[in-house]
């Protein structure tokens, strides 16, 4: 397969995943969050019931423990656009995917071995 064709198909697959992800993705805590909530008593280790109040308290407790209260307002927090629902999530993940494509192409272009 030609590189050009390979790249076009690759971009198409990435965009299909980006559009589908917000509809298919599980909203459950990921492995690290789940371990964190379990350790702080907001969720059983091998169970699925999450106590939202205890989860919030756990996050406060982590800041007290580490003293790291750095906070930062991301442009599209949690792969969403504030004020928009699912459509915002699709736009966010698609924009992120396209941004990756452009950013990595640019960084790779600058840092790649020049062909003589």
């Amino acid at each position: 397969m030609e590189t050009k064709q390979f790249v076009v198909i690759g971009i198409a697959i990435a965009l299909v995943i980006a559009v589908a992800a917000p509809f298919l993705a599980s909203g459950d805590p990921d492995g690290l969050e789940s371990a964190f909530f379990s350790i702080y008593g907001a969720k059983p280790f091998m169970g699925s019931e999450l106590d939202e109040d205890a989860a919030g308290a756990a996050e406060e407790q982590a800041i007290v423990t580490t003293g790291n209260d750095f906070s930062y307002e991301a442009l599209m927090p949690d792969y969403s656009i504030p004020g928009m629902d699912k459509a915002g999530e699709v736009v966010a993940v698609v924009l992120g995917t396209l941004l990756m494509l452009v950013l990595v192409f640019a960084v790779a272009k600058v840092s790649a071995r020049p062909d003589n």
Partner: protein, 212 residues
Amino acid sequence: MHIPDAFIPMGQALIYWVIALIFIVLALRWARRSMGEEKIPLVAVLAAGIFAIQALNIPIPWGTSGHMVGAALAAIVLGSPFAGVFVLTLVLLVQGIIFGDGGITVMGANIVNMGVIGGFIGYYGYTAIKRVIGNAYAAAFIAAWAALFVSAILCAVELAIAGTFPLIPGLTMMGTYHAVIGLIEGGITAGALYLIASARPDILEHPAGVSA
């Protein structure tokens, strides 16, 4: 497995940043020496695909979910552990800055855990296992599983040093959840490698990765 800012004290977070920067410099040196210009589009497409698939959280038991990391895949396809560092550093940068996924002060730790560990265990695991069992896809599955599992174990150790997780419960829980999430990493890595190798068989013929 993206650590948020609150989980690691600032001083320790800076140490992980220093370690990460050393590997980023080494990854840039790898790029200058070994990443030919013909690989640029492939690297960009791989990074975009890895970003997209990272947004797809797949449910596992125990009210938990997990997603692909992708450093092992990048390292295997491009033929160097530093390819995993190169791609994951940029993925984590965009995720942290634009999407608030993974902290800013702790980004170094996330780059070490997912990019460095993922890239090195993924690449060297793949080449070693492939030599022993001969099947590239089985080797990719096992190496990617191990890459994700070891990343999670290191993450638990870092959080124990940070005081956020007690060591043994942290290792037990992170290990259990990520032993399962690793199956997702292994499956997608082997599947993606199959698709890429079907389109470009030269990738598997030359262990140094795709050439043109």
